[in-house]
Structures are given as C-alpha cells and as structure tokens.
Amino acid sequence: MTMELCDQTAARLAALLRKGEIRSRDIVESVFRRIGEREESIHAYISTAYDAAMKQAEKADSALLKGNPASVLAGIPTAVKDNLCTRQMRTTCGSRILENYVPPYDATAVKRIMEGGAVMTGKTNMDEFGMGSSTETSFFGPTRNPWNPEFVPGGSSGGSAAAVAAGEAIVALGTDTGGSIRLPSAYCGVVGIKPTYGRVSRYGLISYASSLDQVGAIGKSVEDCAMVLSLTCGHDPRDTTSAPVKMDLVLESLRKGIKGLRIGLPVEYFVEGLDPRVKDKILGAASLLEQNGARVKEVSLPHAGHAISAYYLIATAEASSNLARYDGVKYGFRAEEVRDTLQMYELTRSMGFGREVKRRIMLGTYALSAGYYDAYYLKAQEARALIRRDFDNAFEQVDGLIAPVSPGLPFRLGEKMDDPLQMYLVDVYTVSVNLAGLPAMSIPCGMVDGLPAGMQIIGRPFDEETVLRVGHAYEQLKNGMME
C-alpha cells in the first residue's frame, strides 16, 4: 500500500523535496484533499487557507529548485493553533470575543516558521483561550478524535494534534499551559513537545497564563517535532521572559542513543487513579529502554499532590488579568444596545466568553482579591517553589523522567463537560511540568481498545536534547519491535 504524502513525516517529505522527487505543492494538495475528506467529521480547523498555502508552496518550490530552501521546514504544510497571532488570518482563540479579530502582527513563532519557508495550512481549533482539556469549550464547536469521532482529541491544542494525526497537516504549532500540547498528542497518538519555559518566544501567543504558557510542536515523529523546534526556539527581544540561552539543536544529536542515561519513574505518578492499562504500556516502554542500555530507577516528587491546586490558582489568577483586555472597546466582539460603559463591559464579557472561561476568570479574580491573596495566590506560589525543588532533587539522580501524560485514555465527548473537577484532574500529570518550567514530550506508547496511549518524557530545564534523544530512541525501538 502506498502512503499518501499527507501521512508521511516531515523528515521524510523534506528529504523527498530536496531530492526533487516531489514538490511542496503536491504535499499541500494531498493535505487539502485529506482536509476535504475528513474535516467535516473531525473539525480540526477554525480557518483554512488553501490559496495562501499554495502561494507559499510555490515560493518554497522555487527555492528548493534552486537548491536553496530556507530551512528544514521549507515547503512543509504546517498548522498553527488559533491562539498564535497571524497577520493575514483571523486569530480567535476559540472564542466568540475574538471571532473576527485579525491581529496587526505575526507571533514570533509564526514569523520564524514562515521565514523558514513553512507553508501555513490554517488555524486550528482549541479550547477557548486554552481553557479546557478536550477542545470542547471552543466557541466554534468541538474537535473530534481522528481515531474515533465519539471521543475527544484532548485539549487545548486538540485541533493541532487531530490535524497531524489525520494527515490534515504534516506538523503543527501548539501551545501548552498545563498539558495542552502533551494531552492531545497522547490522545491522538502523535508526538508533542512543550519546550522549557523561555525557550520559545511568547510574543504573539495570546496569553492564558503568562508564567506557564509555552509554544511547542506537534508531529508524527520526534524528529518532526525537533525540526519545528529548531526554527521556533531562541531569544526574542520582544519577550523578556524568553531566555537568552542559545540552543544549537542539531538534529543528529537525536541519534546519540540512550546507553548509560539515567531515567527516573516518579513513584507519585504511578498510584491509584492511573488506568492500569496505560500504566502497563508506560512500564513496558520503560523496560524496553532499560533493556537497551538506560538505567531506570524510581524517584520521588513528594509535592506532586499539590500541583493541581497550585496550577488552578496561579493559572486562573493570571488569566483573570490577562483576559481583562477583552472589554469591547478596542477590538473583538462588543455587545450592542447598551445603556452605559459598565453595561457594555458586562454584556460584552457575559456574551463574548464561554462558561469555562468565565469560571476561571471568577476563580482567578477571587484568588487575587484583598484578604484572599495570601491564602490562595501566595500559597500557590509557595507550592510551586516546592514542586520545582522536587524536580531539581530528582534531576540530581536521573537525566530524565518517564511518566504518564494523563490518568486515562481519551474520554467520550460530553463525558466530563458538566464536571469541571474531573476535567481538571485529566491534567494531574502534566501541570507540574509547567509549574516547574521544564521541557516535556508526549510520545505514543501503544494502543488500548483502539485508542492511543501516551507516555511523557520530562527533562531538565533547557535540556530538550535529552528529551528528544530518549523519545527518538524509544520510537526506533518500538518500530523495530513492530517490524
């Protein structure tokens, strides 16, 4: 059976493009053909841009023809999450309040991949402002899991993960505040990496929680993610929280192997509540790595239990302030027929935001209020410091950690929508990583009942290389086993 171009990895397509065997336009056609076939049932995109994509593909093709492609990503159809600003396309954040908002500038991450010759297929669906774990809170309707449309794709970057999984894009940009790249990657059976906080500029990433948000990549392979990351990473003078740390990501370093690498299994992550079938897959993966030269041992992250509460206080506190700008004055949705300014604010925000966003704004406003600040926001910051220290201690003993991405498999649409707490617990294994600002990846580790299970690989700050190395090695071993 011959594989469609849209089902191939970016690395393979890039090689074919360089050999002149295919053209970028062929890949774009293939991707849009797939979009035509599957988008109606999956709904990965909020906006698609066929014409613009074809123009970019032509440009990439002529550069390739001259033997002068702008980067490894030249000519590769790339989807962009709809919370990353794009000058030529509306950027909605999955919200009614930005339904028709066209930013006056490009996000740095977008600018960098476009300068690298990538082809933008469109803007992908997401939980409104990134607030959700299932892509069901989008104003534009939910995205469905390509493996089974009755199940959620995970969130909030559900559109990006589903697009890559379905061949509606080759790679995608996502963002991760509490697991928003890793969870949908796990649920959709693709690879997703959230880099270290500060590794990729947040300029143009519409803020949910500024101290946790990070732009990352989703692809069909570890190498694909690394290709995207190699373009987006690096200091940006427009984002003072972006680190002035150089990253010379040499794709070759992925292949260094794992001999002698010390890998930790946090005991607190393998407890009751974790689906035993998922647990088996991850422990199986760990022993596969061990058989091939890694040294696997148990480690402890004693404050892991505080992560969810700390996360939902800090993230909502920051969100309550970050989302204050949507007031109907300058851009976006504005309620009409209002008595006065106050009513304009009230109606604009009541009608413009969805239920989950309003819930989090209320939570965060409360956490920052006089008389509660110390007990909630400050306490959460203390917990955050302890969680970070747990990781520091663990990384004195090991080079990387292996953990579940989520306690269970993808769930059905609507299953958790009326129970926010259950929805929040889906992120129990991912939020700590954001609180500590670490790089982490989600990588498929097998199927359970026809649905993908994911494994999380966590590294030291700014050590994406080890995360990618472990991921790549596992990918090779797993594929070898399957052959």
């Binding site: 300029y203 143009g204 519409i206 929280t241 700008r325 920052l368």
Partner: protein, 489 residues
C-alpha cells in the same frame, strides 16, 4: 483644640524619554490621535511589554536626587481595573519592590529651619490613554473616543511618607512641591510643566490633636491642576476637617474631588467603595536587577543639586543669599551665571545684571534662559566694561538689549557705537545749555524753588547723549549752571 495638619503628596511626573515605557513608540503630545501606537501600547492580544532602560535610569536618577535607596531588585506589578482608556484592563505599575525607597527632600520648614520631608517610595508606571467625550463626561456622552498616544508613556510616582517628617502646613506643602519640581528639572528627568500635565498631584490630608501620636482619618483629594488650586484645595479641606472635629463629627475616609470653580472639595468615593486593584507581580516582565555599577554611574552623573549649589555659590562668590536663591532656581540660570563668573571681576554686579536686566529681557520676549541668545563671554565682558566705568549703566542696558534682540556679538556693537562715555565737560555743558534753552518753564520752576524738574532736565541731557554720559556728572553740571548746591537745597 489645637490641631496638627498632616499632608502627604502622591506626585505623578511624566518623563522626558524618547519612547514609551514598554514599547518603542515615540512620546509625542502634538501628534494626531492614535498615530503613536503599536500592538503593545494598545494592548493587542499576545503583545508583551519590554522595559525601556532609559526610564529606569530616570527613575533611579530621580530617586538618588531625593536621597532614596535604589533597590537592587525591583519588579513590576499589575494594577487591575476597567476603564476605556486603559488598553489592557490593568496598568503596569509597581507594588512591592519599587525602584527607590526611603528618601527625603529638604525644604525650609515653617520655623525657618531646614526640614527633611520624608519620601516613602518612587516607582515607575505607565500612563493611560486619553478619552475624548462627545459631551463633558463619559457618563453623559452618547459616544467617547480614545486616543492611545499617551498610553504607555512613562510616569514616575513619588509618594511622601506620612510617618517620617510629613508636611505640616500649606506653606510647607507649597515649598515641597516647588522644591520637588526644581530638583526633578535639575536632574533632567522631566520638564515638570504643570499645564502640560507633566506634574500631577493627589494629596492626602488628615488632622490630629497636637498631643496625639495616632493619625486622624485622612481624605485624598484629586483633580488639582495647578499649585494655586492645590493650595486652595488644602485650605478648604483643612477648614472642613477642623470644623468637623470641632463639632465632634466623624471625618469619613474617602476620596474627594477639587471643584475649581467653587474652590471646594466634594466627595468622590468612600473607603468602602475603594476599588480592589488585585495587585500581583506582572508575569510578563522579569525582575529588574540593578547592580552597583549601574547605580554608581547614575550617581556620578548627577548634577550639583540646588542646595549644594546655594552653599557653594554663597561661599565662593560672596553674593547675597537672596540673589543666590534666584540664580539657582533653575539649573540653566545657574549654568549661565557659572559660565560668566570666571570671566568677570565683579560677581555681585554680574548677578544683579542677570537677575534685573537679563530676566527683564527674557520676560519681555517670553523666552526661557535655555534659549537665551547671549554668549556668556559677551555678557561677562559687558559687566567688565561696566565695572571699569568704560560704559554707563544706560549704555550697558541698551547694548544688552541690542545684543539680545539682534543676536549679535558684543564687539560688533562696541565698534559701531564708537564706545566710551562722553567725559568731555565742554560737550556736556553745551548740551546742558541747549536743554535749558529748550525748557524755559522747567528753569523757571527751579528758580522759584521747585526742584522736581531737575530730574527731567537730567533725563533730557542723557537722551541727547544717547545714554553715553554719567548721569551723576550731568546732574552736577545742571546744578552748577542753575546755582544749586549738590544736595539740591
């Protein structure tokens, strides 16, 4: 009962920076509406602030001039509230860890002694945009427009310390504001032009019995647009509070607005209605570390401050203190004086000529000292000519005037004027005779014992000489001619 007044200012000063606090938009007030804006200062989704280094330098510079400690680690905080001129729904300001803390400003206290007014903190924040209403207010307008040119312009907030040497009277309040403005202008962080909104004040006032250590309830007054109005507002508010205390009524802790027309303060909102700004550290901005090197460089670059200058000039030049105070009022004036002084033999004469004659010319032509066209060298030379008696005061004044208006050099004028006073007694006598012949009534009056026209005759002769005679000499000649003695009796 005798009450002590406690006055504390919160002063907002608009900085002299090229660009805004968190983006590179130009700071320009005369630009067309919304022409100096970008994604950052209009709060576009996804945009992020980047701190303007120059603004930090200015904040530290102001802080050091006010004897504050510069914090090695500062951070910005968000002040959350909704208003249409506030693009992000929060203002980036500072809460914990401002740039500078614990300073003072020395003024002359009411007892005539130096008084170090406590300054609690100095912090940086961004200004908001400007609303243009279709009627007089947001509430009554069908629509309002927003101009974001001002949004993001750096503001310095200087807060008095109510516990450490607070201001105790309207006179001290006035001295404080004048001294503060003078100091900030000296160090070059702002022009502090009140009419342009570059220097804005809110003031807290409370009263307590002189014997008491605890503070009385305070009110905060906003919306005062001049020093005059601040004094008016304080006067009204102190009267209002003491009246309430006298009759045993409660003073409400509240914010009040000053009504310029009626010169009274009116309630704006009570303490209970005070907004909860939900301050928290801004996660978009990293903490600012100021190392000793950075602070040291700013300290070294500070100009001599007004107080130091007064002491030095008094000691070095022996000029009366009142004159020194005037000469040091503005840094540019003292700069001019100091540029001339080494070239002059008579510094007292120099200072008199600056204060009396140069200021007159500047006032008449509505120019400030900084665009005074005179070269210090020429001005000094003029003073030297006067001192040597080579020209008269009247000649000096006319030369100065011409030099000022024609913006030319002294040497050009001196050549043209064929300088030097008319000393030749014969020439002068001839002129006295002419004047006497032309003014028989004056002569008749003087002969009858009314001496007043003598001055008139002197003036007429001086006019004939185009000011080039010594008026004392002319008077002597007239008196001789009319047979009067020197003291005019």
């Amino acid at each position: 009962m005798d009450y002590e007044v406690i006055i504390c200012f919160e002063t907002h000063v608009e900085f002299k920076t090229e660009t805004k606090l968190f983006c590179d938009c130009a700071v320009r007030y005369d630009a067309p509406p919304n022409s100096r804006i970008c994604p950052v200062c209009t709060g576009q989704p996804g945009s992020l602030p980047v701190l303007n280094r120059k603004a930090v330098e200015h904040a530290v510079r102001a802080g050091l001039a006010l004897h504050c400690t510069a914090n090695p680690l500062s951070r910005f905080a968000r002040k959350n509230y909704f208003y249409p001129d506030l693009p992000k729904g929060y203002q980036i300001s500072q809460y914990e860890r401002p740039f500078c803390e614990n300073g003072y400003l020395e003024i002359q206290g009411d007892d005539g002694r130096p008084y170090e007014v406590g300054i609690r903190r100095i912090h940086l924040e961004e200004d908001a945009g400007k609303l243009v209403h279709s009627t007089s207010s947001l509430g009554s307008s069908d629509f309002s427009l927003v101009d974001y040119n001002r949004a993001g312009v750096p503001l310095l907030e200087i807060v008095c310390d109510h516990e450490r040497n607070p201001l105790r009277s309207i006179q001290e309040a006035r001295s404080y504001l004048e001294k503060l403005r003078q100091t900030l202008r000296y160090v070059g962080v702002s022009d502090c032009t009140i009419e342009k909104g570059q220097f804005r004040c809110d003031v807290n006032v409370s009263l307590r019995p002189r014997s008491s250590r605890t503070f009385g309830r305070r009110t905060e007054i906003k919306n005062m647009t001049s020093f005059r109005f601040i004094a008016d507002a304080l006067e009204y508010e102190i009267r209002r509070q003491s009246e309430l205390l006298r009759t045993g009524e409660e003073i409400a802790q509240e914010t009040r607005l000053f009504d310029e027309q009626r010169k009274i303060t009116v309630p704006m909102r009570s303490k209970e209605d005070a907004p909860d700004y939900r301050y928290f550290p801004d996660p978009d901005l990293v903490e600012v570390e100021l190392d000793e090197d950075f602070i040291g460089k700013i300290r070294d670059s500070l100009p001599e401050l007004p107080d130091q200058k007064v002491v030095r000039l008094t000691e070095e030049y022996g000029i009366p203190r009142e004159d020194i105070l005037i000469l040091t009022r503005e840094r540019e004036i003292s700069d001019f004086f100091l540029a001339c002084a080494p070239l002059c033999r008579d510094r007292v004469r120099l200072s008199r000529w600056i204060i009396r004659d140069l200021f007159k010319l500047l006032n008449e032509s509505r120019r400030s000292i900084s665009d005074c066209p005179l070269r210090p060298g020429d001005f000094a030379e003029l003073i030297n000519l006067l001192e040597a008696g080579k020209i008269t005061d009247a000649m000096g004044r006319s030369i100065l005037k011409e030099m000022f208006h024609k913006e030319c050099e002294l040497s050009q004028l001196l050549n043209k004027e064929a300088a030097g006073p008319i000393r030749d007694a014969d020439t002068l006598l001839r002129m006295v005779d002419e004047v006497a012949a032309q003014n028989p009534e004056a002569i008749a009056k003087i002969s009858s014992g009314i001496l007043e026209p003598v001055n008139f005759l002197v003036g007429q002769v001086m006019r004939k000489t185009r000011g080039k005679a010594d008026p004392k000499k002319v008077r002597d000649l007239i008196q001789q001619k009319l047979g009067l003695s020197h003291d005019g009796s």
